[in-house]
């Protein structure tokens, strides 16, 4: 069983890396990019029966820093 966790900086928290990517895309001539947010995807290989609740706990305790990051779980 696999789960994917998407971790992103919360809206309102400046994302300097996303901003840099946006500028780089602009420099390449892509004019239509109005915003870029960069995050990470964490793939978990889980034992059968692991609940989403447990994955949520993993996110809260380690995978995301909820002061600045939000997360989304896909199972």
């Amino acid at each position: 069983m696999k789960a994917k966790v998407y971790v992103m900086l919360k809206q309102g928290v400046l994302d300097p890396q996303g901003e840099a990517v946006k500028h780089a895309l602009g420099a390449l001539g892509f004019d239509g990019v109005e915003g870029v947010r960069q995050g990470k995807v964490i793939e978990l290989d889980l034992a059968p029966g692991t609940t989403e609740e447990t994955v949520k706990e993993m996110c809260e305790k380690l995978l995301a820093n909820t002061v600045i990051e939000s997360y989304r779980i896909e199972i």
């Binding site: 928290v13 300097p16 820093n65």
Partner: protein, 222 residues
């Protein structure tokens, strides 16, 4: 006075921090992160700079879940002192012992230089060697020192006088120029700049020495 300096894989300012504590008159124990307990009688825990666990996942996130960290949290909850510098500050925010989080520097650059810090009007044993408003020169060396707190928390830090240091010329985008904050009981200090790297003349500066001397003097009186 007994200081413990925690060593994680990837810590690289642990020796410097130990020497700074020693020169201020403390007995120092180096403590490996896999140890479950701090040595008996530790008064202050130093969490050093470096790149614990290669900064994997987030700076300080894995170290915040190391076995020794539970003991450090217990030590602080019992009223013990803790000083986190650079990566140590990141570890302290990850544990929740200090508020906020450290993001990537706003200009995305690793910054390694001396900066001017303003000593804020913050009543804590760590600042007894300084005057409020004093400007000191202390080195920084970080990629993720961009301090973040939301508006409510910032107001709380200001109202409670818990901002210890601010940057005179903000190098990294930190909210409200914040370079260091203390816990509500004022015994935990986290800061991105490195006072232990400006603690004897051979370092090229001595403005950090007063922090260690002042802290040990205060702890002796307490």
């Amino acid at each position: 006075m007994h200081a413990a300096v925690i060593v994680f894989p990837g810590s690289n300012c642990d020796r410097d921090l130990a020497v700074a504590f020693e020169h201020a008159g403390a007995k120092v124990s180096m403590v490996w992160h896999k140890d479950a307990d701090l040595p008996d009688g530790v008064d202050v825990v130093g969490i050093p700079g470096g790149f614990s666990f290669g900064d994997y996942l987030r700076c300080g996130a894995i170290a915040a879940n190391s076995p020794i960290t539970r003991s450090v949290i217990n030590h602080v909850e019992r009223g013990g002192y803790a000083l986190g510098i650079c990566n140590g500050f990141q570890v302290l925010t990850e544990t929740g012992l200090l508020p906020g989080a450290l993001r990537r520097n706003a200009n995305l650059k690793f910054l390694c230089k001396s900066v001017d810090l303003r000593v804020e009007d913050c009543d804590t044993p760590y600042l007894k060697g300084y005057e409020p408003g004093q400007v000191i020169s202390i080195p920084i060396a970080h990629h993720d020192g961009n301090y973040f707190v939301d508006d409510d928390k910032l107001k709380q830090l200001r109202d409670e006088g818990r901002i210890a240091f601010t940057y005179v010329d903000n190098p990294n985008g930190s909210v409200a120029d914040i370079a260091g904050v203390v816990s509500r009981n004022r015994r935990v200090l986290g800061m991105m700049p490195h006072p232990e790297r400006a603690a004897e003349p051979a370092h090229g500066g001595t403005d950090g020495k007063a922090m260690f001397d002042g802290l040990l003097r205060e702890m002796a009186l307490a």
